[in-house]
């Protein structure tokens, strides 16, 4: 008793440290990927999230007021510039749609199943972990909105991360640049497969690309779909620098496509489905027909019409010509 009263502070310090060390040891031993959300974390996050929501919504209100009144200068010029961009993009889109239809036909013929994004939930980012060593986000939607663990989180620009923990009206997202994060990736042009991982400094790196391979800065990276979390083909980022690693692999740094440091709203992919391309748009077409359509072909011979023949509608000629193929 005398010892305790004399060294009370040291004893309390030792007891508090010991208790936390024991708790740490138990957690590390029991830690599993599917572990339940701890009650303490649930209570604390539940208590703080409304405060964060209030801060974010107030900040958004002020920002929107500024943008909608003061920030409207120069909108007319911007509008004209955007109209020109839209016109150019329409032309580009028409060309790409034709390519897409062609690709869908080929996929259908090959019975190529693909993950399709069915439904998404838009969510607002209301907070971070606040620590430089931990890259987590808090969203203002949770299990009430249909969000579940391991659902992919994206922006129109690229991948953000995946849902780590779900609460009632909020959820925690593990960003792709966190040191414990990893996802399957493909270099879009060379089709090299690797894993994009986060680093302790919050950067992205592409791992497991053999040193003999050729990778150039500027090459695009997309999701491979092999991790069963992210659907295939979502943009991850671009190769920033390539160096020879200390082991057998290249040391490749990646610049993320999404603005990971400034995120406002994100999309959570709540439903994906294995699906074949729509058969209705394919019709009865053989693969050979599709391929032959891409080959340079001989123009059809022009039929010589008798000069005295009566004029007939062009549609009839076209129809006959269509039916008078090789039989």
């Amino acid at each position: 008793m005398n010892f305790f009263s004399r060294h009370r502070n040291t004893v309390v310090l030792a007891a508090v440290l010991l208790a936390q060390l024991l708790a740490l040891a138990v957690q590390v031993k029991r830690q599993t990927a599917e572990g339940p959300v701890s009650v303490i974390r649930l209570v604390v996050v539940g208590a703080i999230t409304p405060l964060e929501k209030a801060m974010v919504y107030t900040g958004d209100g002020v920002r929107d007021t500024w943008r909608n009144y003061v920030g409207l200068r120069g909108v007319r010029q911007e509008n004209e510039r955007l109209r020109e961009e839209i016109a150019a993009m329409r032309l580009e889109r028409a060309h790409e749609q034709e390519e897409l239809r062609q690709a869908h036909r080929m996929q259908a013929l090959l019975e190529f199943k693909q993950k399709w994004i069915d439904t998404t939930v838009a969510a607002q980012v209301i907070g971070t972990s606040g620590m430089a060593s931990s890259h987590l986000l808090f969203l203002d939607k949770g299990s009430d909105a249909g969000i579940q663990r391991d659902m992919p989180v994206i922006t129109p620009k690229g991948v953000v991360g995946k849902v780590l923990t779900v609460f009632g009206d909020s959820s925690q997202v593990l960003m792709i640049n966190d040191a414990s994060s990893g996802m399957g990736a493909i270099i879009a042009d060379s089709r090299l497969v690797g894993i994009v991982k986060g680093t302790a400094a919050g950067e992205l790196q592409l791992a497991y690309i053999m040193a003999g391979e050729t990778v150039k800065p500027g090459e695009q990276l997309v999701t491979s779909g092999g991790d069963r979390v992210f659907p295939k083909g979502l943009p991850i980022g671009t190769v920033q620098s390539v160096h020879q690693g200390h082991d057998l692999f290249l040391d490749i740094k990646v610049k993320p496509a999404a603005e990971l440091r400034r995120l406002d709203e994100v999309l959570v992919i709540t439903q994906q489905r294995d699906r074949l391309p729509d058969q209705a748009e394919v019709g009865d077409v053989r693969a050979a027909d599709i391929l032959s359509g891409r080959l340079p072909s001989v123009p059809p011979p022009v039929e010589e019409k008798p000069a005295a023949a009566p004029a007939q509608p062009a549609a009839v000629h076209d129809g006959e010509a269509g039916r008078s193929g090789p039989q």
Binding site: N9, L13, I40, G127, T128, F138
Partner: protein, 118 residues
Amino acid sequence: MSPSSLIYTSRSEVEVYRFSWPVSIGLPVLMVAVQAFLPLYLPFLRIFDFGLLLTIFFAVSRRSQLSGIVTGAAIGLLQDCFTRTPFGVFGIAKTLVGYGASSIGIRIDVTIRGPGSC
């Protein structure tokens, strides 16, 4: 009077601050919320550990090792809730910081006195 007694203030003269329960609980909660919110708009603020600053502030102001230990552990565990790390990583660090800061606070008086006061 020895020179050391001129440098070090005796414990009875040191000003000890007391905080009400709402401040003691509300300030760490507000700190965690601000720490989570501000980096959304000012990403460079991630490098500042507001929990560390608050732990040192409470520990030095109260000048009690026991209080420093408890405050440090509480703030550290609060921060653990918002990271992916297991409970205790920040808790242990802040417990030690709280103990150390309060130990220093007992021995050194950092209060700035006005020119008229002695």
